[in-house]
Amino acid sequence: MEPYELTITEAVALMADRKLSSTELTKSCLDRIEQTEAVMKSFISLQPDRALRAAADADKKRAAGAGGSLLGVPLSLKDLLCTRGIPTTCGSRILENFIPPYDATVVERLSAEGAVIVGKAAMDEFAMGSTSETCAFKVPSNPWATDCVAGGSSGGSAASVASGQVLGSLGSDTGGSIRQPASLCGIVGMKPTYGRVSRYGLVAFASSLDQIGPLTRDVTDAAVMMQAICGYDERDSTSVDRPVEDYHLFLSEGVNGVRIGVPREYFGPGLDPEVRRTVMNGVEVLKSAGAQVVDVSIPHIEYCVAVYYLIAPAEASSNLARYDGVAYGFRDKNAADLLDMYKETRSQGFGPEVKRRILIGTYALSSGYYDAYYKKASQVRTLILNDFKKAWEQCDVLISPVTPTPAWKKGEKLDDPLAMYLSDIFTLSTNLAGLPGLSVPGGFSTGGLPIGIQLQAPHFHEGELLRCGYNLEMGVNLERLLPPLMNAV
C-alpha cells in the first residue's frame, strides 16, 4: 500500500509512530499527481515546492514534540479559498492572475493544525455548475470513469481526494457543491450548518447559502477536518458564536433509538432505481443497527429549484459586481472609455454560465420584478425551513439520495442548463434551510459508478450527522474499493 492511499487518520497515526514522515507522504502524493494529473485534471495550480517545505517543517515540528490534528497531511483546496501569495482564480479568467494578500480563515486554521497544502483544485467558474465543466482552465475527471464528470462545483476537490492525489480537501457548498461531487466520486463530503464555519476569505457566490466543508475518504476524516475548521470568527458577521462539539466522540456512539426520517418527496418518479435501491439499503443498515425509521414529508421541496435559482443568482449578481477591471483581476486594456472597460472586461472575463446567472439575478432584483421573484423566493424559503422544523419533531436525521443519478458523461448536460439545475434537486434545500448535510458512499451502480447517500440534521447537529454517517459507513461496509485508475496508472 502506498502512502497516498492512506486516510488522514491512518497517516497521522503512522507519522505519530514515526513509521512515516510527512516528507515521504507528501512526495508520495506529488508522485501520484504527476502520474495521474494529465487524466484527472484536478488542479488549477500546484505548489509542490511549497508543499515539500511545509512537509519538512511538519517533520521538524513533530520531531520537536509538536502536535496538530493535520500535522504533515497533504490536502488540496478548492480554488475559491483565498491563499496568501498563491493565485486564487475561482476557475475564472477574470481572476486568472489574482493573488490574494491574505489567507481565508479556514486556511489559517488548517495551517495552525499543520496541514500541507499541495494545490488549488479545479471548480466550476465561481462555483456555478454541477460538473466543474464551467471551469475556465480544466475539467476534472471522475476517477471511476474518466470520461464522466467528477461533479461540481467542488469537482477538483473530490477528484483529487478520490484518485489518491491528496488525503483530503476543502470545498464549498452553495447548493450541493460538496455533497454532489463527493457522491459521484465515492467519497465523504460534508456541508456544515450555515454559520458554523467562517466564510472569511471564501470568494462569495451566494453569501446566504455558501458554506465551506471537507471532502475526505471516510467519515472519521471528515470529523477530523471539521474539528479543525469549525468555530466562530469575528471577521465573519454571519458566523455563529457557539462552542464546537468534540465530533470524534459521536463516532463511537451507536444509532440505537435514533429516529431516521425518510422524506417521501425525495423518492419520486424521476429517481434512478439503482440510486433508490442504494439509499433504501442504507435505511436498512441503520435500522438493523437499532435506528427507528419514520416516514416524513417536506412538502415544499418541489419549489427548491425555483427558489434557489432566484436567490443564488440574485446574490451572485451583486457579489460579482466587484469584478469590474478597476482594482484587480482581468481588465480589457483596449477599452475606449469607462463603460467600454466594464462591458469588455466582464464580457471577456466571465464564461457563459456565470453571465447567465448574473442576468437571472439582475432580473430578479430589478424594480418591478423584485416582489414577484426575489421577495417571493425569500418567503418560500421560509416555508421550506418550516417544513424541516416540522420534520425535526418526528425525526433526528433525514436520509435521502444525493443526486437522482450516478455520474454522467462529460458534455452530456452542458448545453442543457435546466437538466443541470434539476440534478441538484436533493441538495438545494439543505442550503436554503441552512442545515448541515453529509454525503456518504452507499454503493455502486451496475456500471461501477459510486452512489452516495445524503444525511441531513437540524442546525448545529453535525455530531449527530457524523454519528449516523459513521454507522452507515460501517454497515454498508464497502471494501475500500480503489477507483480503477488508482491501480491502472
Partner: protein, 474 residues
C-alpha cells in the same frame, strides 16, 4: 399667481468614528492615496464586513436627539451600481429597514417655532474619490475614504422657503456638532446637503414637479441656490413653461443652478438585504445608556441662555446655533458677568469679523474678549477705541491690555489735561461758541470732534461733554 415653495433636504454626515464602518482602517483625512485601506474596504474577493458598533451608537444618539423612532431591528441593504470609486459594485446602505424613522425638529421661524419632519435616518458607507489628471487621459482612484461611515438624514418636504431650509440645515448641523458625532465641515465634505425643491400654486395640495439641487458646499450656498431655483421655477411657471424633473448643480461662480451634464437615466439600484450582515438588534438597555449619555442639545441650551442669562430669544438662537460659539460665550461670561454685553459684542463685532468662518479659527480667546469688555466698563478705553483694538486682537492674537499700552490708546480721563484742551478749542473757535450759546446745541458735536482729533480719539467722551458744558455756560 402666487406660488408656494416646497423644499425637502437630504443630508449626508460623515461620522467621526476612529475607524471605518465595516473594517478597522482609520478614517483620518490627508494620507497618501490608498494607504488607509484593507481587503475589506478594497472590496477584495472573500473579504467580509463587520459593523462598527460606534456607528450604531452615533445613529441612535442622533435619533434620540431628533424625537425619532429607533428601529429595534434594522438591516443593511446593498445599493447596486457601477462606478470606479465603489470597489464592490454596491454601496452597503439601508433601505426598507433603516435604523431611524419618523422624527422631527423644531426650527425658529419669524419669532415662532415650526416643526420639520424627519422621514428617516440611515447608516451607510462613503465611496472613494476619483482624481483626474488634467495632463493625461486617465483618472486615478483613491479608496482612503471608502467605508467612512455616513448618516443620511432625509427630511419631509416640510420647508416652505429657502430661509426655513437654511434654519433646518443649521439646526441639524448644530445637533450633530453638540453630539460630537460629525465634524460638520461643509467645505471639506464631511457634512453635505442635497435639496429637492418644487413650487405649487397656493392652496394646491399636489406637489409641483421638483428638481434636485446638488453641489452646495456652504450654508449660504444652500440658501442662495434655493433662492435662485425658486426664481427660476417661478419664472418658468409664469411663462406657462413646464419645470423639468432633473438634477441641477449650483454654480457658485455664476450664482446660478445648471442642469447636470450627461444622461440622466433613472437608476435601478436593485436594493436587497445584505446577506453578509445580520440584522442589527438594539435592546432597551443600550438605548437607555445612550440616552443618559446625551449632552445638552441646542434647544435646551437656547432655553438656558434665555432663562439663566436673560438673553433675548434672537441672541440665544444665534449663539447656540454652533456649539463652539455657545461655548465661547459661556467662557467669556464666566469671567465677565455681563451676558447681554458679551452677547452684543459677539453678535456684532465678532460674527461680522468672522465673515462666516469658524469660531475655532478666531485668534481672540474668550478671556481676551472679556478683558476687552472689562476695559470698556472701567473706562480705560472708549467703546470706539475698543473696536479697533479688537481688530488688532484678531490679527495678532495679543491681549487687549498689551495692545492698548503698546499703541498708547489709554482713554484720557485726566480732568486737568482735558480742560486745558477744551479751553484751547473754545478760544480758537469764537464763531461756533456764539452759535452754541445762541441755542444751536448741535455744535457740541463739533467741539467734541475737535477734542477727539487732538487726543487721537482717546478723550473720555462723557468727561469731555461735562467739561465743554461747564466752560461754555460757566
Amino acid at each position: 399667481m402666487e406660488f408656494e415653495t416646497v423644499i425637502g433636504l437630504e443630508i449626508h454626515a460623515q461620522m467621526k468614528t476612529r475607524s471605518k464602518i465595516f473594517c478597522g482602517c482609520t478614517t483620518e483625512f490627508g494620507a497618501p492615496p490608498n494607504t488607509h485601506t484593507c481587503p475589506v474596504c478594497l472590496g477584495m474577493p472573500g473579504a467580509l464586513p463587520v459593523l462598527n458598533r460606534r456607528v450604531v451608537e452615533f445613529a441612535i444618539k442622533v435619533g434620540l436627539s431628533t424625537n425619532s423612532r429607533i428601529n429595534r431591528v434594522n438591516q443593511f441593504a446593498r445599493k447596486n451600481y457601477f462606478y470606479p470609486d465603489l470597489p464592490k459594485g454596491y454601496q452597503t446602505s439601508q433601505f426598507d429597514r433603516p435604523i431611524i424613522e419618523n422624527g422631527f425638529i423644531d426650527i425658529e421661524v419669524d419669532g415662532g417655532l415650526k416643526r420639520i419632519g424627519i422621514t428617516r435616518i440611515h447608516m451607510e458607507e462613503d465611496a472613494g474619490k476619483l482624481i483626474h489628471d488634467e495632463r493625461e487621459p486617465v483618472s486615478y482612484v483613491d479608496l482612503n475614504r471608502t467605508g467612512t461611515p455616513l448618516l443620511e438624514i432625509v427630511s419631509e418636504p416640510d420647508m416652505r422657503s429657502p430661509q426655513e431650509a437654511y434654519s433646518y440645515l443649521k439646526k441639524i448641523h448644530a445637533i450633530l456638532r453638540y453630539l460630537d458625532v460629525c465634524d460638520g465641515n461643509m467645505q471639506e465634505g464631511s457634512f453635505r446637503c442635497d435639496a429637492n425643491i418644487s413650487l405649487r400654486p397656493f392652496g394646491q395640495k399636489e406637489f409641483g414637479t421638483r428638481t434636485e439641487l446638488k453641489n452646495m458646499n456652504s450654508f449660504r450656498n444652500v440658501q442662495a441656490a434655493l433662492e435662485y431655483e425658486v426664481r427660476r421655477q417661478r419664472d418658468l411657471l409664469l411663462e406657462g413653461e413646464p419645470v423639468i424633473q432633473q438634477t441641477m448643480l449650483w454654480n457658485p461662480d455664476t450664482g446660478r443652478t445648471e442642469p447636470m451634464r450627461g444622461k440622466e437615466d433613472a437608476h435601478d439600484y436593485r436594493y436587497f438585504p445584505c446577506p453578509d450582515l445580520i440584522p442589527v438588534e438594539i435592546d432597551e438597555a443600550w438605548i437607555d445608556a445612550l440616552r443618559a449619555s446625551l449632552p445638552e442639545l441646542p434647544d435646551q441650551r437656547r432655553q438656558r441662555f434665555i432663562d439663566a442669562f436673560g438673553l433675548p430669544e434672537y441672541d440665544a438662537v444665534i449663539l447656540t446655533e454652533s456649539k463652539e460659539l455657545a461655548d465661547y460665550f459661556e467662557a467669556a461670561v464666566a469671567v465677565y458677568d455681563q451676558p447681554k454685553k458679551v452677547s452684543n459684542w459677539m453678535m456684532t463685532e465678532l460674527l461680522r469679523e468672522l465673515k462666516g468662518g469658524e469660531i475655532g479659527d478666531c485668534r481672540v480667546q474668550p478671556l481676551q474678549l472679556a478683558s476687552l469688555l472689562k476695559m470698556i466698563e472701567a473706562g480705560t478705553i472708549s467703546g470706539k477705541i475698543a473696536k479697533s483694538v479688537f481688530i488688532d486682537m484678531l490679527d495678532s492674537g495679543k491681549d487687549p491690555e498689551w495692545i492698548v499700552k503698546d499703541k498708547n490708546l489709554l482713554q484720557v480721563s485726566d480732568e486737568s489735561e482735558l480742560l486745558a484742551l477744551v479751553k484751547e478749542i473754545i478760544a480758537a473757535n469764537p464763531g461756533q461758541v456764539d452759535e452754541y450759546r445762541g441755542g444751536k446745541t448741535k455744535v457740541m458735536g463739533f467741539f467734541i470732534g475737535q477734542l477727539m482729533q487732538k487726543t487721537r480719539g482717546k478723550a473720555n467722551p462723557k468727561l469731555a461733554n461735562e467739561l465743554f458744558n461747564k466752560e461754555l455756560w460757566g
